[in-house]
């Protein structure tokens, strides 16, 4: 159904249908964010021998995040007097909008996808870069030295780790011969790229953790040094928007990892009777779990270690991976 819709002529009713589909995707993502936050707290709790939220909404704290969000929405919305008002207001929007826009190119299953453009991967990488400006703006507009430091760190980190992230994916593009994410998934029908490109997978996983500003790379919001980082001065729903950006990017990055390395909606051999969306969800949840696992087990890096690791270790490895992929492509494919 969705494929017919994508190839049909544009009209007013189509616009409305796409709007409704986009809105429903947003609702699904918001539901994911609600329970991803709960899952993160629960999993981290169990890993650290405590039980996590368990009061609101039954034994498993199922309504904890809902209550938290309600509290955030009811909080007073403060804008500091010394802040740069227009930029302070526009920054959370500029950070969040790209986070949701990148989801447009992710193919969730054979029939459930919102676009079919030839440069899907490039679109993802290009659009996600705009968020950095939003974060940097938020840090600058707050007119607070901790916020500015956090914003600068965030921008430096996101730029440095975008390079190995993109470089690690080039091997896949070489083998598939396409930037279209749907064609990349189809190329993994028999063998997922995690087995063809193991080095690229490791680089991608590390670089994506850094892109998401998560532990061990959460220097932009290192609470022991910077109070809270780029969003110190934010409160209420503006702060919620920055948090939302972070978790929507988690959703997008886990989806992208699934699509690029874990074979997307394709099933494991002999289990083809389970529908593709379920396979996607299983692989996706696995990636999210690994991200939470990282957060619960690894200590934070120092700023200079972070930079030298990105430029001196990950980048050369990614270049090596491109070279190896080119050789493999020449010999086997």
């Amino acid at each position: 159904m969705m494929n017919d819709l994508l190839h049909s002529a544009p009209s007013l009713s189509n616009t409305l249908i796409f709007f409704a589909l986009g809105a429903s995707l947003l609702m699904i993502v918001l539901g994911f964010v609600t329970y991803a936050i709960l899952a993160e707290r629960k999993v981290m709790g169990f890993m650290q021998l405590r039980s996590g939220p368990n009061k609101v909404g039954g034994r498993f704290g199922l309504l904890q995040t809902v209550a938290d969000v309600l509290k955030l929405l009811l909080k007073e919305d403060t804008i500091p007097k010394a802040a740069d008002r227009p930029l302070f207001i526009i920054a959370p929007v500029l950070a969040f909008a790209p986070a949701f826009m990148v989801l447009a190119v992710i193919p969730f299953s054979d029939s459930l996808r919102f676009s079919d453009i030839g440069i899907g991967l490039l679109y993802y990488i290009a659009i996600s870069g705009i968020s950095t400006i939003g974060i940097l703006m938020g840090g600058w507009a707050s007119n607070n030295k901790y916020a500015l430091l956090g914003g600068m760190r965030s921008a430096a980190q996101m730029i440095s780790y975008e390079v190995p992230l993109v470089m690690s994916v080039i091997g896949i593009i070489l083998i598939t011969g396409s930037l279209n994410l749907i064609e990349i998934v189809d190329a993994q029908k028999n063998l997922a790229f995690i087995f063809v490109q193991p080095l690229a997978f490791i680089i991608f996983l590390i670089a994506s953790t850094a892109e998401l500003n998560r532990t061990p790379f959460d220097l932009p919001e290192a609470e022991s040094e910077l109070v809270a980082g780029y969003h110190v001065e934010y409160s209420g729903f503006r702060w919620a928007f920055f948090m939302l950006t972070e978790y929507v990017y988690l959703f997008a990055m886990a989806s992208l990892t699934t699509v690029l390395f874990l074979g997307g909606w394709h099933p494991v051999p002999f289990l083809g009777f389970i529908p593709g969306v379920v396979w996607f969800a299983i692989k996706f949840s696995l990636v999210v779990f690994i991200m939470i696992w990282f957060r619960a087990t690894l200590p934070r890096l120092r700023a200079d270690q972070l930079m030298s690791f990105g430029w001196k270790v990950l980048l050369p490895l990614a270049l090596l991976n491109i070279f190896i992929s080119a050789v493999i492509k020449e010999i086997w494919f």
Binding site: P10, D84, G118, L122, I127, G129, I130, I133
Partner: protein, 172 residues
């Protein structure tokens, strides 16, 4: 009036509007943000011309990388800098006259301009076609560009390194 025209007008308006804002705002950081919006709407115009590859490379390079480098430069130096305009009346009138003349020339030229037959299959595999063209017809310019970039990269490293050494000597 079809949808394409509406989108074109919105994008053109945003591009020109933020261009004007960039020139008229006083705070440096605000100017950079206006510049980002200009780049984004120009990318939107590229998408309308079926040049998605160019559009997203534009976003990646200009709004993603170059503006952030600019912001870095600004924030590491004087990030609360302002500009005061000190332009006299005669100069304004002169510039206005120039703009009107330019507009008239462009308007009359574009009015009877004909591009011949309009291409209809531009959107089919255009990224692949760009790649094929780049590596078959334009190999030598492409290689020269890569050498230029390599020289710039090595130059940047040499410059950064020299600073370090001098500091080390100063400290001794």
């Amino acid at each position: 009036m079809n949808g394409e025209l509406i989108v074109f007008f919105i994008l053109a308006l945003v591009a020109i509007g933020s261009g004007i804002l960039m020139l008229n705002l006083t705070k440096v950081v605000h100017m950079v943000i206006a510049l980002v919006f200009t780049f984004l709407s120009i990318a939107g115009l590229y998408v309308m011309l079926s040049a998605e590859f160019l559009a997203f490379v534009q976003i990646l390079i200009y709004s993603g990388a170059i503006t952030i480098i600019m912001l870095f430069g600004i924030m590491l130096t004087r990030h609360s800098d302002r500009t005061e305009s000190k332009i006299g009346v005669p100069r304004t009138v002169l510039v206005l006259g120039g703009i009107v003349a330019f507009f008239l020339v462009m308007f009359f030229q574009i009015n009877d301009l004909s591009f011949g037959e309009q291409a209809t299959v531009l959107h089919v595999d255009n990224t692949e076609k760009i790649g094929v063209e780049l590596y078959s017809k334009f190999v030598i310019p492409f290689e020269l560009t890569s050498v230029l970039l390599l020289v710039a990269l090595v130059g940047a490293i040499v410059l950064a390194k020299r600073d370090d050494e001098e500091e080390a000597k100063d400290n001794e």
